[in-house]
Point group: none
Amino acid sequence: MRCEILAVGTEILLGDIVNTNAQYISKRLSEEGIFVYHQSVIGDNPERLKQAYELAFSRADLVITTGGLGPTKDDLTKEIAFEYFGMRSVCHEESLNQIKEYFEKINKPLGKTNEKQAYFPEEAIVLKNNNGTAPGCILEEAGKVLVMLPGPPREMKAMFEESVIPYLRKYSKEILVSKILRVIGVGESAAAELIGDLIDNENPTVAPYAKEGEMIFRITARAESEEVANKLIAPVEAEIRSILGDNIYGEGETTLEDVLGSILVGKGLTIATAESCTGGMVAARLINYPGISASILEGAVTYSNEAKIRRLGVKEETLNSFGAVSEETAIEMAKGIASTSGADIGIATTGIAGPGGGTEEKPVGLVYIAVYYNNEVEVRKLNLSGNRQRVRERAATAVIDMVRRKLL
Amino acid sequence: MRCEILAVGTEILLGDIVNTNAQYISKRLSEEGIFVYHQSVIGDNPERLKQAYELAFSRADLVITTGGLGPTKDDLTKEIAFEYFGMRSVCHEESLNQIKEYFEKINKPLGKTNEKQAYFPEEAIVLKNNNGTAPGCILEEAGKVLVMLPGPPREMKAMFEESVIPYLRKYSKEILVSKILRVIGVGESAAAELIGDLIDNENPTVAPYAKEGEMIFRITARAESEEVANKLIAPVEAEIRSILGDNIYGEGETTLEDVLGSILVGKGLTIATAESCTGGMVAARLINYPGISASILEGAVTYSNEAKIRRLGVKEETLNSFGAVSEETAIEMAKGIASTSGADIGIATTGIAGPGGGTEEKPVGLVYIAVYYNNEVEVRKLNLSGNRQRVRERAATAVIDMVRRKLL
């Protein structure tokens, strides 16, 4: 099955956005054994859009469009496709109701233009959008398949995984089963070296991906059934686990904070945070775990020295002698938040996120993270690279991981 | 002048890399007044590559390729192009010497295959690569122009800026100037309706883009000089500003928290946050503004009732009578953080982010946000859609915007 991905949107041709959708879809299709022969981008222009459909269907069996399903006059992807296929569109009641509900929920009036988002030919398989107003659709005609997805990556990815992948699987005799292992604390090249020859494995394949501050290994087996695929995956997974050990923090779509959250709740431990440079990021991430309320007692964002003293009981002389960004301050912050909140675990971050404020002795990117637990405080010094936001995010990740490892 | 960008490389079609080159070139060309009508991606396949040239030159005057100039057998971009133009390539001595020098510098032997990188037709303008081994080139033939650039973004960008932009300037008499207005608190369709006919304006053009929780209007004028372009933009900008008023929070690449941060610092006001459902997100975003230390006194993440009572002085009877997610609690939280911290402004969030915890009366997505300022508390009730993370992010955005509007 030959596929072409057609992204629709003048904003891509103007260079305002990067076409990450094409990359995502290409990668996922190649994992499913479907090869993309062309990626194309076209503006919101009816004539060129029509030519793009003609061209795409002349060289591919499966055409996947992204973008142009919005409510405005510019959004023409659907309309030109229906014209190309000679199909009439009618109101898809279920979609209209979902759009209405969406607007009711956000307490805004339904624009007249939004109604057009619910129009599809009767022949279409309408794809529900659980993250926005634009439904997608699948059309089949004379052995050709057209899949239309919304442009915003969040909406596109969810619809692709929920509706398109299951649909496409009927075209392949073998199935692909993937298992994702999530790794933290090891860089990409180091992890690849540790894994060694496994990278060249053919079935299952082992593919590494670097993600912001972490790594993923995707093990993918091709087989006639899920059972057989899982049997192929098991020994390779065991080998990777024996090499990477505790650096593997989870599987699938879990996050580091989910893992820590479930450990905390499972052990009945309470936690409290004291953040300076990360300024609430650690607490915000912990609270993204839905069940965390039993464990997190409180968080203190103590960006100023005064707040560190008043809220956490950090000694003024510590701040004067060693500075706010120091091992000593981090230790007192972690102890302080644990004792004032009564939590079992106290977390602290203090550092120089930049862009200003760095010195020769304490450069931008210097962050101390500390964890109080069982009457002991462990502190770590980090030298992080990147801009302000990145330094802060990496520091937050590091301290969450530090707690996780402590509790294993 | 119509342009098509043709990226060559199977790795893009496999989704291993994102085609950021197309975005970079598109953006720079649009700034130069050259419009890209198509972006295409093709694999390292001689037959499809030849078809891609035929197609590209049938619909564009300027074709810019990226990738496929390397030393391996797979790298065919140049070879197929020379064949397409019916040109013979010969060794370009200067390029060969540069390649030799490069290998001497990195202390590696010159591979035989690297020599092919120095072969070009005599008609070509050869472009020096100051960051790698593959030279690029420009070919002109019967009013059509072909520019071939290396694939690695660092090499491509440098060559594009050093050689291609100066070359292309001879083709464009006009320049493009853009101005971006950032809008919050108005949905895409509502904003488009408010703007009305301005969307159809021709010079300057007005283009709306929806971004996570906000909107952007890009006003782009085409003129013979920056001065003239700015004069074209001014009245249209003024009209949009008169329609959208305070919903426009900034220009260009600024963020909402940058805007609030600079207002706070400018007015010498102090702020403190009390967060329940957002759990630190508001503080974390405020602290992303580098100059915020003078303004933010502290943040309290009070996820539990106990922390709300102890840290913020929320009354137990308020929590019992109205619940943690209520107007009354939000008001006491905002007042409480302002009074315990001594800040001029107190911010509070409390809500049900989901996925569990919702009831008929208080569904998932219900969030109260409150701002204390000048002895008054204003509270707002939000009904937000999306998953836990999104509800929390939108609540954080809403309360930051609420403070911004209060201080205007």
